[in-house]
Symmetry: C2
Amino acid sequence: MTTPRKVTSLDVAKRAGVSRSAVSRVFTPGASVSARTANKVREAADALGYRPNVLARAMLTGKSKIIGLVVAYLDNHFYPTMLELLSEALERQGYHVLVFMASHSASDIEDVVSQILDYQVDGLVLASVALSSDLADRCRASGVPVVLFNRMLETDGELAVVSDNRAGGRMAAEHLVQLGRTRIGHIAGWEGASTQRDREAGFMEGLRTASLGLFAREVGDFRLPRAQDAARRMFDTDTRPDAVFVANDYMAFGVMDVLRAEFGLSVPEDVAVIGFDDVPAAAWPAYALTTIRQDTQAMVAATVDALMAEIDGETFASPSPLPVTLVKRRSA
Amino acid sequence: MTTPRKVTSLDVAKRAGVSRSAVSRVFTPGASVSARTANKVREAADALGYRPNVLARAMLTGKSKIIGLVVAYLDNHFYPTMLELLSEALERQGYHVLVFMASHSASDIEDVVSQILDYQVDGLVLASVALSSDLADRCRASGVPVVLFNRMLETDGELAVVSDNRAGGRMAAEHLVQLGRTRIGHIAGWEGASTQRDREAGFMEGLRTASLGLFAREVGDFRLPRAQDAARRMFDTDTRPDAVFVANDYMAFGVMDVLRAEFGLSVPEDVAVIGFDDVPAAAWPAYALTTIRQDTQAMVAATVDALMAEIDGETFASPSPLPVTLVKRRSA
DNA sequence: CACTGTCTTGCAAACGCATGCAGGGGGAGA
DNA sequence: TCTCCCCCTGCATGCGTTTGCAAGACAGTG
């Protein structure tokens, strides 16, 4: 076992016949170094395999170049997609993503955030997670910018990037009534989520405009089994809905499955189904799910813009809700 | 804007009337501190909201408590699942996951690994990514244990955790012949992957045992569109296969879609389809995909065992390939 | 009471780097 | 050739910890 002694800037300096400072400057963009020493240093660095230690640098500058991401449901494909985009976008800016699972108890989110702060992250994005506002305060007290992704807080003032969920809900309703459906149900996600509330509010608006009421309502909590139970409850009845707006695609798949497999209903003939998100699988022919598309790309772009601005000390206002679009497929 | 000055161990020390060392020791399990000072310190720490700076600690101890994960396809649900499990398992050990996307060009994997090492990660897991062996050398030279997840290297000696892909391939073949299928095709993943080679090798073995040959073969590179093209090529012919083994579930979904939607074939009546992985969607009634299940749970468990052992300086032998199981659903 | 042994505790050095400050060297202009 | 100025460079300090070392406190024993 060879001793893997770390090669430090001092090693490079000695080999190049310069001082540590010179080495440091070579690796600090925008520092004043002559081309000659820069070359010597780079050469020595290559020979020794030297690369600056991000952690040490972080101590001095206070910038760790890492962004914490806390995420809850990785089984809903919306989030892996978001993670991929986010990570790539941040890498382009020289940042990287440290992942934290907020999987279960909503209370230990407290704990999770503490752990994150221990890593001196430069920023924090909370995806699909309820942030108590005093927690937000604590983060801001630590000087860590936090942006909520796909969630909003009552108490605004928090940086949040969201789609125009209300408009999306309205579009869903309009599409369904335009199709001539009248017995329209809704399967809700977790009711603590602003996303859910806005989507449903918009949906109700849309129905009301058409002088329709909600025919049935169940809640699926954004979880697959719960959504399926919700569907079972909703359709185990004499007069069934002829359309249902499901609060996200992930649940919609589960709902379509029980409609077809357990009730022998066909979509969209017997019942139209419309989802929300437009995750990749929505386009798969097996579901061909009509849905309200969130522009994930734009959402993460807005997220990193916000982060970068806040990190640079500028204060950044939450962008207005991002536009969504109805994508018609065969399920409605 | 309040100045968010960081609260350091010195602040706590002063408030508690002790030295920095005392504070440090309180937060270092197994250090020698009297109960009395421990209480004073903890009290002061709570009052000030002090938490040790992981980065500073990392500098001294050389342990950053972060594990780098480089991952390629997040659209294949196998990997988000794995990420979730891995992150949770590591959090339980006090580690966290720093994500790196190896998205595209296989060459910049070189670059990615360099970036990772800059963060002084304590370990590295490469999921579904081809590691050149000199790259592996460089990591080991830096003293960073690396474990390959779901991939093996020709030159063994690398730590790798894989399923028994060969056995899995064999099981797929056996199941298909047992079903009486005779014109059996294979849609391969990326041929650079050991996973692919092993699955196919096992599959061929299984066919050979039954005195059958491969009826058709196309490659889908583990990507959805490519897999669909592969399926089109394979079935746009007079005598079609009556069964196909697809190298992973993700591609299998795409294949089933084109078979049904474009060729009007029904699965499994016209053609039996069998996949590999058993991702959650495989259980969805729309696909009800018969598949070879990888025990993701066991795989990540083995991965963190390996990491922890190597970090503790023990050398750890690659575990033997983990058992897979055939899960029969309706597609075959 | 003196001595020894066991716990605690503080001191100071180290980890690897960035950066303000001041000094040195060289080029340009006269 | 001399002066001035600017560009480079080295020195030293600090970032927030951990940890070996040695000294202090205290109890127990003879």
